[in-house]
C-alpha cells in the first residue's frame, strides 16, 4: 500500500518494473469507436437524398456500403484483437512487403477518369486504398524498428537509426506524396515515424534537424507542383477563389459557420445538396457541424478527445516498448488524420483530401482503422507494473476501492503467451 502510494505520488521512479498482468480490456475503445461510427452513419443516412441528387445514386447506396464496411471492420477488429501481438511482430516484414506490393499494383492499375490518382486497387466492384495497408503494416515495422534500437540503445546512432528512417520517409514521400499525390497520407506516415521516434526517446538533437529538413522538403514540394501551389493559395485566401480552387474550402466554412450554436438539425443540411463536394466523405465534418452546430461539434471533438486520452493511457501502461509503439502509431495515425481533416474543414489547414477516422464514408479507411483499434484493444488487456500509478489515476474511479484492486485481482495472470 505504501509502495502504491509512493508510486502514485512519487512518480515512475520508484515503481517496480517487470511484472505484467492481464486484466479486463478497455471496453471504452469499442464504445467510443461505435459512437463515432454511428455519428458517421447517421450523417451519411441523413444526407442520402442530397447525395442521390448530386451523384445520381439510388436511395441507400452509401449507407448500405458503409454498413458493409463497418461489418468488415468489426471482423478485422476481432481478428487483430485475437491474434497475439508477437505473431504480428513476427510477420511484420511480410506485412510491409504485401503493403508495398499493394502500392505497386495501385500504381500500375488503370485509373478511372474521375479519379486520376493511382491510389486504388480495384477488384470488380471493390476498391482498396493501398496507403491504408501501408499505414497498418508500418505499425509493426516501425514498432519493431524502434523497439530493437531502444533495446540496443542505439537510438542516437545516425547510421543505425536516423538514416534508415530518412530513407523510409523519402520513399514514402516520393511514392505516396509524389506519384500518388497523397500529401495527407504522407504527413500521417511522417507523423507515425515522428511520434514513435519521440516516444522511444530519440534525442531531440536528432529529431530537430530531420524536422527542419522535412518542413523544407514540404515547402519545396508545394512550390514545385502547381496543384499544391494552388491549394496553398486557396488556403491563404479562400474567399478570393471561391468559384475555382477554393470552392471546397469556402463551402466547408459556409457549412460550419451557418450551423450556428445548435445547428440546422439532422435533416436540414443544405450544403450537402451539391454545394459542398465529398459531403459524405472528406467533408463529412463540415456537414456534421452544419447539422449539429457548435454544441454537436464539441460532442464530436469530445469523443475524439476521450478516445485519444484512452490511447495515451494505454501507451503509459502497456507492458512493453513494442506494444507501446504500436499504440503510439495508432494514436499518431488517427489523431493526425483527424487534425488534418478537421483543420481543413475549419479553414486552419489546406484541404488535403483525407478521411475523418471512423466517421467518413469510405471502406478501406473504416476497415483498417478498425483493424488498428483491434490491436490497441488487445494491448489494453495488459498492464505493466511500471505504470500502475497512471492506471490508478486514470481508472481509479471505475473501481470503488481506488486502491488498485484491479491490479491485485487480475482476470488472468498468465503471461505465457507473451515473452
Amino acid at each position: 500500500m505504501a509502495e502504491l502510494r509512493t508510486a502514485r505520488y512519487g512518480g515512475q521512479a520508484t515503481a517496480p518494473a517487470g511484472e505484467v498482468r492481464r486484466h479486463r480490456p478497455d471496453y471504452w475503445l469499442i464504445v467510443l469507436a461505435l459512437l463515432l461510427v454511428a455519428v458517421g452513419l447517421t450523417v451519411v443516412y441523413a444526407i442520402t437524398p442530397a447525395l442521390s441528387v448530386t451523384d445520381g445514386v439510388t436511395g441507400a447506396h452509401y449507407v448500405i456500403r458503409q454498413l458493409i464496411a463497418v461489418g468488415l471492420s468489426a471482423v478485422a477488429f476481432l481478428i487483430t484483437a485475437r491474434i497475439p501481438l508477437r505473431v504480428w511482430q513476427k510477420w511484420q516484414m511480410a506485412l510491409l512487403i504485401v503493403a508495398a506490393l499493394g502500392t505497386l499494383v495501385a500504381l500500375v492499375m488503370p485509373v478511372l477518369p474521375q479519379y486520376p490518382a493511382h491510389r486504388w486497387i480495384r477488384l470488380g466492384g471493390l476498391s482498396l486504398q493501398s496507403v491504408e495497408m501501408v499505414k497498418f503494416a508500418l505499425l509493426f515495422y516501425l514498432g519493431t524498428f524502434f523497439a530493437n534500437r531502444y533495446q540496443k540503445g542505439n537510438l542516437g546512432d545516425s547510421k543505425q537509426t536516423l538514416y534508415p528512417l530518412l530513407v523510409l520517409i523519402c520513399v514514402a514521400g516520393v511514392v505516396i506524396g509524389g506519384i500518388q499525390s497523397d500529401f495527407g497520407s504522407t504527413v500521417v506516415i511522417v507523423a507515425m515515424v515522428a511520434s514513435m521516434a519521440w516516444l522511444t526517446g530519440m534525442p531531440v538533437r536528432k529529431i530537430a534537424p530531420v524536422a527542419a529538413v522535412l518542413v523544407l522538403g514540404a515547402v519545396l514540394l508545394i512550390a514545385s507542383t502547381p496543384y499544391r501551389r494552388e491549394r496553398l493559395a486557396t488556403y491563404l485566401h479562400p474567399e478570393s477563389n471561391c468559384l475555382t480552387t477554393g470552392y471546397q474550402a469556402c463551402q466547408a466554412l459556409i457549412a460550419v459557420g451557418s450551423g450556428g450554436i445548435a445547428g440546422l438539425g439532422l435533416g436540414r443540411s443544405v450544403q450537402a445538396y451539391g454545394y459542398l463536394p465529398e459531403a459524405q466523405d472528406d467533408s463529412i465534418f463540415a456537414i456534421y457541424a452544419e447539422k449539429f452546430g457548435f454544441l454537436g461539434v464539441m460532442v464530436l471533438l469530445g469523443l475524439f478527445g476521450v478516445l485519444f486520452a484512452r490511447l495515451r493511457s494505454i501507451i503509459e501502461r502497456a507492458p512493453d516498448m513494442f506494444s507501446r509503439l504500436v499504440v503510439a502509431g495508432v494514436l499518431a495515425w488517427l489523431s493526425t488524420q483527424m487534425v488534418i481533416n478537421v483543420g481543413a474543414m475549419v479553414g486552419l489547414l489546406p484541404v488535403k483530401g483525407i478521411t475523418l477516422p471512423f466517421v467518413s464514408y469510405g471502406g478501406t479507411s473504416v476497415l483498417f482503422v478498425g483493424a488498428a483499434l483491434g490491436l490497441v484493444f488487445q494491448i489494453s488487456h495488459y498492464t505493466s507494473f511500471g505504470t500502475r500509478n497512471v492506471q490508478r489515476r486514470k481508472d481509479g474511479g471505475d473501481e470503488d476501492s481506488g486502491d488498485g484492486r484491479r491490479l491485485r485481482r487480475p482476470y488472468h495472470s498468465d503471461l505465457s503467451g507473451r515473452s
Partner: protein, 597 residues
C-alpha cells in the same frame, strides 16, 4: 522482455513524460480547434448564414401563363393563339462532371457537335449557359432522365397557332423573352402577360427547391387575361384567300383590306398580303412583313376621298344630291391647271353622281369651291379640314389595339395659307391626293357616314376574360357623334348605290348582287408621290371604299392594292374594285348579310 524492462527501470519511464508532452500538444491543437469553431459558428454565425443564403436561397420568377387569344367562329369563339410548354436546356459548368460523356449523351437529343457541347460544358467562367432552346416535353424528359449533374431545363411558354398564319399581322408574336411584339400581342402585352409570381426558396445546387424552409417565400402568379377578338375566323380566312389571289394576279407590292361592322366600328376581318408565319417569326428576313399595313401604312387614298368631299358639301348645304354644274374641263388654282384623268373627259354639264361615277377631279374641286362660295378660299379650306380632321378623322391614328405606337397618323395639311399654294393643295385633297390616310381610317370614316353619323373608335377586342373567369365585354366606343346628318348619310348611301349600278351597266357585272342586297362603292386610282418631288409616272395604288347590306349598310370595306403591275384599265377599277366585289360576295354568301325586307 526482461531485458527491455530492465532498461525501462534504468531509464525510468521517459516515454510516459514524452507521451504526455505529445498528448499536451494534441490538447493544444484541440484547443485551437475549439476556439476557431467557436469563432466560426458563434461569433461569425451571421456572416456565414448570409453567405449560405446568398448561395442557397434562390429567387425564382414564376411566370404567369400568358392569356390565350380567341376569335369568333359561327356563334362561338375558338382559340387562335395558345400556349405550349417547351424547355430551355442549360448547364452550370462549375458543377458538370465528365463533360465529354455528358455531351455525348446530350448530342443525340439536341443535335449539334459533341465537341462544341463539351466545350460549352467546360466553360468555367460562367455558371449558366444555354445549350438549346425549345426542347419538346419528350426531349426534356429524356435529358432529365440522364440525371447529369449541373445540367437542367427550364420551362418556357411558347405561342402556338391552331389557325397557322391566319391574322398574323393583327396578332403579332411573342419573342423569346415572353414579350409581345407587333399587333395585339404588343398592344395588350400587359393584360395578356399577367403578373408573374415569385418564389424564394432554399435549393440544391441545381436550383431545385428543397422541402419547406422558413426562408421560403412564395407569391403565386396571376395569369394573364384572355382576349376575345372581334375577328371572325371564317371571314378572316376568306379575306386572306382573296387578298393572296389578288396579289398573285395583280403582282402588287402589297394588298390590304379591312371589313368593319358599320354599326359598331368593330373590325371583323383585317389582312395584308404578303404576310408571315407567327410560329416561325424568327425565320423572317424582312421585318417589314410584321407590320399590319392597314394601320401602319398611310397612303394618298385617291378618288375614294370624293365620298368625304361630297358628304362635306352636302352637309354644308352647298350642293344637293341632284345638283348639276358646268365642268369647264379644268380649273386654274394658284396658277396651276387642275384637270381630270378620266378617259371620256370632256367639258359640259355634270352632276354629283357623274362626278363619282366618272371620278371627276374637276367635280370634287368644284364642290370644294362651293364651300368657299364659288372659289377655294380660307372658308373652303377650313370647312374641308374641319370635316376631314374632326368628323371623319382622316390622317389621325384611331387608337386601335395594334402594337405600341405602331399605328400611323398620316398627314392632312393644315388649312392655313403659308404662301406655298395651299389652295392647290386643298384642291388635290378634295379628290384624294396631297394627304395620306390608312385603310383603317378610311373604312372607319366611311362607316360613320354610312351609320347615320356616329364615329365609333375602331376596335379589335370584343371580350377580355380574367384568369378567374370574369368576362368583360368591351362595348363599342363612340368617339364622335353627329358627324354628318342622317339625311346626308342617306344621300351618300344612295349615291354609292347608284354609282355601283352605273358600274354594272358599264360592264362590271361582278358588282351585281341582285335586288335583295344594297351594295355601293367608289374606286380610287391614287398617284404615288415621289420623295424626290412630283409623282411617279408609272406607279399607282388601286383603292376602293364600299359597303354591303340590305335595308341599310352592314359591312364597310376598304381595299388598298399597292403598286399593282398587272391589270387593265384604271387601278381603282382594275385592282381595287374586283377585290371589293370578291369580299362583298363572300359576305353575302357566307356571313349573314341581312337581305332587304
Amino acid at each position: 522482455m526482461n531485458s527491455m524492462d530492465q532498461q525501462l527501470a534504468t531509464r525510468p519511464a521517459n516515454y510516459v513524460q514524452r507521451a504526455r508532452v505529445w498528448y499536451a500538444l494534441l490538447v493544444l491543437v484541440f484547443g485551437v480547434f475549439v476556439i476557431r469553431i467557436f469563432y466560426l459558428q458563434v461569433i461569425r454565425y451571421d456572416y456565414y448564414k448570409k453567405a449560405a443564403q446568398s448561395d442557397q436561397l434562390k429567387q425564382y420568377v414564376i411566370p404567369a401563363a400568358r392569356g390565350v387569344i380567341t376569335a369568333h367562329l359561327g356563334d362561338g369563339a375558338v382559340p387562335i393563339v395558345l400556349n405550349q410548354k417547351l424547355y430551355t436546356l442549360y448547364a452550370d459548368p462549375t458543377i458538370v462532371k465528365q463533360p465529354e460523356q455528358a455531351a455525348a449523351k446530350l448530342q443525340p437529343i439536341i443535335g449539334g457537335n459533341v465537341d462544341d457541347i463539351a466545350a460549352q460544358l467546360k466553360g468555367k467562367d460562367t455558371r449558366y449557359t444555354v445549350l438549346k432552346k425549345r426542347l419538346t416535353p419528350a426531349q426534356n424528359k429524356k435529358v432529365l432522365g440522364y440525371k447529369l449533374p449541373g445540367i437542367g431545363t427550364e420551362e418556357q411558354d411558347y405561342r402556338t397557332y391552331p389557325q397557322g398564319q391566319m391574322a398574323a399581322q393583327v396578332l403579332g408574336f411573342v419573342n423569346d423573352n415572353g414579350e409581345g411584339e407587333y399587333g395585339i400581342e404588343q398592344a395588350l402585352n400587359k393584360q395578356l402577360a399577367g403578373t408573374s409570381g415569385q418564389l424564394k426558396a432554399v435549393t440544391d445546387i441545381n436550383g431545385v427547391p428543397l422541402a419547406a424552409s422558413p426562408d421560403n417565400i412564395s407569391v403565386a402568379p396571376v395569369n394573364g387575361n384572355s382576349v376575345g377578338l372581334t375577328i371572325n375566323v371564317g371571314m378572316q380566312l376568306g379575306l386572306e384567300k382573296i387578298l393572296k389571289a389578288a396579289q398573285d394576279q395583280n403582282k402588287s407590292k402589297d394588298v390590304s383590306a379591312v371589313v368593319m361592322d358599320v354599326h359598331t366600328g368593330r373590325v371583323l376581318a383585317m389582312a395584308n398580303y404578303p404576310t408571315f408565319d407567327p410560329a416561325n417569326y424568327q425565320n423572317v428576313s424582312d421585318p417589314s412583313v410584321f407590320s399590319n399595313d392597314t394601320v401602319t401604312n398611310p397612303i394618298e387614298p385617291g378618288s375614294v376621298t370624293k365620298l368625304f368631299t361630297t358628304a362635306t358639301a352636302l352637309q354644308k348645304g352647298v350642293i344637293t344630291p341632284t345638283t348639276s354644274f358646268y365642268d369647264p374641263g379644268s380649273w386654274t388654282v394658284d396658277g396651276t391647271k387642275v384637270s381630270d384623268v378620266e378617259e371620256d373627259h370632256s367639258t359640259g354639264q355634270q352632276t354629283i353622281l357623274s362626278t363619282l361615277d366618272k371620278s371627276l377631279n374637276t367635280g370634287a374641286t368644284w364642290m370644294l369651291m362651293q364651300m368657299g362660295g364659288g372659289q377655294i378660299d380660307a372658308q373652303a379650306r377650313n370647312t374641308l379640314y374641319d370635316y376631314f380632321n374632326n368628323h371623319f378623322m382622316l390622317g389621325r391614328a384611331t387608337g386601335i389595339q395594334q402594337g405600341n405606337g405602331e399605328e400611323a397618323d398620316g398627314i392632312l395639311p393644315g388649312p392655313k395659307d403659308t404662301g406655298s399654294g395651299i389652295n392647290l393643295t386643298y384642291a388635290n385633297v378634295s379628290f384624294g391626293q396631297a394627304y395620306t390616310a390608312t385603310a383603317l381610317q378610311m373604312v372607319t370614316g366611311l362607316s360613320s357616314i354610312l351609320n347615320g353619323g356616329t364615329y365609333y373608335q375602331p376596335s379589335l377586342v370584343d371580350t377580355v376574360t380574367a384568369a378567374d373567369g370574369t368576362i368583360t365585354k368591351i362595348a363599342p366606343k363612340v368617339a364622335a357623334q353627329s358627324v354628318i346628318s342622317g339625311q346626308v348619310s342617306q344621300d351618300i348611301i344612295s349615291l354609292m348605290e347608284q354609282n355601283n349600278t352605273n358600274h354594272i351597266h358599264e360592264g362590271f357585272g361582278y358588282l351585281d348582287f341582285g335586288p335583295n342586297y344594297s351594295v355601293g362603292g367608289k374606286t380610287g386610282t391614287a398617284e404615288i408621290a415621289n420623295p424626290l418631288g412630283g409623282y411617279y409616272p408609272d406607279k399607282v395604288n388601286g383603292t376602293y371604299l364600299g359597303f354591303v347590306g340590305g335595308d341599310s349598310p352592314q359591312y364597310a370595306i376598304a381595299v388598298y392594292n399597292l403598286e399593282p403591275t398587272k391589270y387593265s384599265g384604271f387601278a381603282g377599277a382594275g385592282t381595287g374594285q374586283p377585290v371589293f366585289a370578291n369580299i362583298a360576295h363572300m359576305l353575302v354568301n357566307d356571313f349573314g348579310v341581312t337581305p332587304k325586307s
